[in-house]
Symmetry: C2
Subunit: 177 residues, 2 copies
């Protein structure tokens, strides 16, 4: 089956602090017209880092959208024109206080490709050194450490639900089977 | 560290076809005021189903946001007041033509909890029977079959980037180590 949709025109409907919403007129594969609601986002990074004791560094953070404290790997949005590797190094230090000595790309993640343009760049930092946390003025979080087996267990018990963190746990567990 | 943020007032800024954007005034843990941009979404389901040959059913679909054909497990949005299990059964038949004989909950996924309220209900259908595809009027996709090892390989090669599909592959690979 031919699957390709073609853009006819784009219409910015909302510009927020982080996201933009567009309503684009498109041509479906069967030649009919339709509309796609697209959420644009600057993209982000997520870093699975290991400390001097061989444990993974997680951040415990209140997520207002779910009214819940969630456990996630260090992560953050890309700043304007920022290289993803620079963002990963920056966010890891800011949130955990650890600097990556090695930083390996673990590919890209599309959190919700049906309507959301966000791309998360995944990284693995198997070696780090402590240099001190540099939290943003309005950032509140606790750093926690876990083994890979403990993290897999939390995912399987449905106690860790963050997509980027699960994707990195999956990929790293395949590197270290 | 105290992490809790309190809602002071909510303001609907944009209402689209699928999502709503809210700008809520909040109280930070340190007592200062701030604003959270929140994207609300009805939520969805994703189903990892196995056919009569023991292979996983994937759908190949054009994703306009990335201008790419992506490989994903069957999935879809919740309809108004729809039970997630009903949505999972409905979407699996519509997209793949297979009906679940068994359907196991594999927990919840938060695709991007920093600003996005979407929750994806994950399911595993290890036994199915073919009853015939019922695609929506404006839905175009190809059904493909893969083994679990092939899917893990695609994730590791960065050729499968959809968060809900990766989360289900990870969880099912832990059930069948």
């Amino acid at each position: 089956m031919n699957l390709i949709e073609k853009k006819l025109s784009g219409n910015l409907k909302f510009k927020g602090k982080i996201i933009e919403v567009h309503h684009d007129d498109i041509l479906l594969p069967n030649g009919e017209m339709s509309m796609r609601e697209v959420v644009k986002h600057p993209g982000g990074v997520c870093i699975a880092a290991i400390n001097e004791n061989g444990e993974f560094l997680l951040v415990e953070q209140f997520r207002y959208t779910f009214d819940e404290v969630l456990l996630e790997f260090a992560a953050g949005k890309l700043e304007i024109n920022e290289n993803p590797i620079d963002a990963a190094n920056r966010e890891l230090i800011e949130e955990t206080g650890y600097e990556a000595i090695e930083l390996t790309s673990m590919g890209l993640l599309y959190p919700s490709p049906g309507y959301l343009g966000e791309i998360i760049h995944l990284y693995y930092a198997p070696k780090t050194k402590f240099v001190g946390q540099k939290l943003d003025f309005h950032e509140f979080l606790n750093v926690k450490t876990y083994t890979l087996d403990q993290l897999i267990d939390l995912v399987m018990k449905d106690e860790l639900r963050d997509a980027k963190t699960i994707a990195l746990i999956m990929k790293i567990s395949q590197l270290n089977p």
